[in-house]
């Protein structure tokens, strides 16, 4: 392969681009559908029908800075994020597309590492990357590397997850420590010179979710708590169900390192991003069995009940502070900004 950095030639449609696609992407992602090198992936309908009765289809773009951070990188994120968006609908994720926008000058080695990471994560999540696109833009027109992935999965018959099914008396469950990803990114940007060991929680959740549905088919709804964190997902649940999501602060799993960073910066961990955390609402009588089942899965080892649903105040998230008081947990107005003092 010519050169050590990406040039405009890599996106120009000529020889250099074909070389890049063949040697990096086709060899990297390694599957027959992609290797056919058609303009589209061709998927067998019968194989899909055998798994369920509805398609789930989603897309997401990844522009994280820095590209590599403790415990993950943009490639792992690009697979995990889309797989999880499918999985929280109850779907079995199967196929992904991958569009890449590369900034001229990006080291080829960086791209190789990202592709290797995508491949490993896809294998871990049981999905194939079956179609893709590559564009190269002038230096400064993009920041190093942007990725878009779209995904298709199949929802098994009978699985109906929706926040409109939430009822008063239900309980709220998470699969582990919240805020790790957001804190790891703040830390990896290196603006703070904090000495911490926080790693992203970036992980595919499809396996865990299938295990959860097997243990408790009556789960009302699931959502992954990515941008905007736990607080945002619960506000969405509250709005859709018109119920009150009542959280018990001491029961929410948050690592001491993450709490410490939030104390210093004046951030609220409830709003920090996650990339491997889901929130589930389940009937109270199923909660114990569900949490037990989750804890036997590596992605749910620290699962916990963190609150319950009540009737009023309607369409609101309320936090019992552990100090004896209560407060509303509202949607953020903009980005969380550190406080000055």
């Amino acid at each position: 392969m010519s050169g050590e950095i990406i040039t405009l030639a890599h996106g120009a449609g000529g020889k250099v681009m074909h070389e890049l696609i063949r040697e990096l992407f086709v060899a990297g992602y390694g599957n027959d559908i992609l290797a056919a090198l058609e303009d589209q992936a061709r998927l067998q309908l019968n194989a899909l029908l055998a798994r369920g009765d509805r398609l789930a289809f989603t897309t997401d773009s990844y522009v994280v800075d820095p590209l590599f951070f403790p415990g993950g990188d943009i490639g792992k994120l690009a697979v995990t994020g889309t797989v999880n968006d499918l999985a929280v609908g109850g779907a079995v994720p199967l196929y992904l597309s991958c569009g890449m926008i590369l900034e001229e000058g990006l080291p080829l080695d960086t791209l190789r590492q990202v592709v290797a990471s995508m491949k490993a994560t896809a294998a871990d999540a049981g999905v194939q990357i079956v179609t893709g696109d590559t564009k190269v833009v002038h230096r400064g027109a993009a920041d190093k590397l942007f990725i878009n992935t779209a995904g298709i999965g199949v929802i098994p018959a009978g699985v109906e997850l929706s926040p409109t099914r939430i009822r008063p008396g239900d309980v709220i469950v998470v699969n582990g420590y919240i805020g790790d990803h957001g804190a790891a990114i703040v830390d990896a940007r290196g603006e703070l010179a904090l000495e911490s060991s926080i790693e992203t929680d970036c992980q595919p959740l499809a396996g865990l979710i299938q295990a959860m549905l097997a243990a408790c088919p009556d789960i009302r709804c699931l959502r992954d708590a990515t941008r905007g964190g736990l607080a945002t997902v619960l506000n969405e649940f509250a709005a859709a169900s018109q119920g009150c999501m009542r959280l018990d602060e001491p029961r929410i799993p948050i690592r001491d390192e993450v709490r410490g960073m939030c104390e210093i910066l004046g951030l609220d961990p409830l709003y920090l991003a996650n990339e491997g955390k889901l929130v589930a609402v389940v009937p109270a009588e199923d909660a114990e069995a569900l949490v037990d089942a989750m804890r036997t899965h590596p992605a749910g080892r620290d699962a916990a009940v963190i609150g319950e649903v009540s009737e009023s105040p309607a369409a609101t998230v309320v936090l019992s502070t552990g100090f004896g008081g209560e407060r509303i947990v509202d949607l953020l107005v903009g980005e969380q900004l550190p406080r000055i003092c």
Binding site: F323, V333, G334, L337, R339, I340
Partner: protein
Amino acid sequence: MMKFVDEFRDPDKARALIRQIEVLLERIETVRERPLQIMEFCGGHTHTIFRYGLEQMLPEGIELVHGPGCPVCVLPMGRVDDCVALARRPEVIFTTFGDAMRVPGSKKSLLQAKADGADIRMVYSPLDALALARKHPEREVIFFALGFETTMPSTALTVLQAEREGIDNFSLFCNHITTVPTIKAILDSPDMQLDGFLAPGHVSMVVGERPFHFVARDYGKPIVITGFEPLDILQSLWMVVRQIAEGRCEVENQYARIVPEGGNRTGLDAVARVFELREFFEWRGLGSIDHSGVRMREAYARFDAERKFAVPNIKIADPKSCQCGEVLKGVIRPWECKVYGSQCTPETPMGALMVSSEGACAAYYHYGRISVEELKRRRAS
């Protein structure tokens, strides 16, 4: 680290303190007529009060008045316009603390100016801004200096460092404000009805106890220097109420683990070297207050963005319907303001107190609807 923090968040200790406050309140005559109004001056305290839901835990005989001590909130629109004008100069890298980014000017906030192409960068300390100046000798790096006495020493020390290193492409847009003249202005206001104060802990760490003596001596109001954990606040409220019950008024220091009686000499010396009092400074919500701001001394004029560049310095009046001033003095509660929650919301703030999460109105809007219902119920009964 969190172990030390959690000690100050113990719910059992909180309940015990609240019981003690209740016992004291029973001995106070005025409480039978109306609740005691106690002002926490500092936005940091306001933040703790809302974050832990302290207000609904307090006995009915206490009403908290959330003071003007959020430096981001009280920044007048004209000063934000000046920031935007400075930031738009092509040679300038404009650096600021994060929460000042969203404060609305008459036309736009720094966040909007950044989106429009101004080179505005968020920093965590003035030293980060100085490092940028070292790295970009061809650009002018302006640091948006704001905050009370808490942040003044670090700004002053950064200027002294720039002077030592001979860095000439670094300057301050100085908007530091002072605590004491502001508390005095509130006390002098004719509709003032406060019974006591929680004094800001971080400011006191710098200035010490002495500057607050006038509150007790000249105005007869108890004042307690207070830390930022929820138990700190409850204990300080108990100390204020105890003074009232015992007929005393003095400065007490609840935050002695951090605040030395004489403050921080090194910090104060650096501040005195670099800054001098302005004749007056304009506050959003409170208007002009004598000696309530500082500017850079003549000797440091070359580090002063206001002298280096022409800033428009146009005064923009607060909107007429805005009642921030009355809320700040405890005359009305935030939700009693005519525009609260209708024309004035955190998305489109009209008044100072809706601007940052430390402003009383924004805090009620985001966190406090439960408190509002409870407090309304109490008022009605």
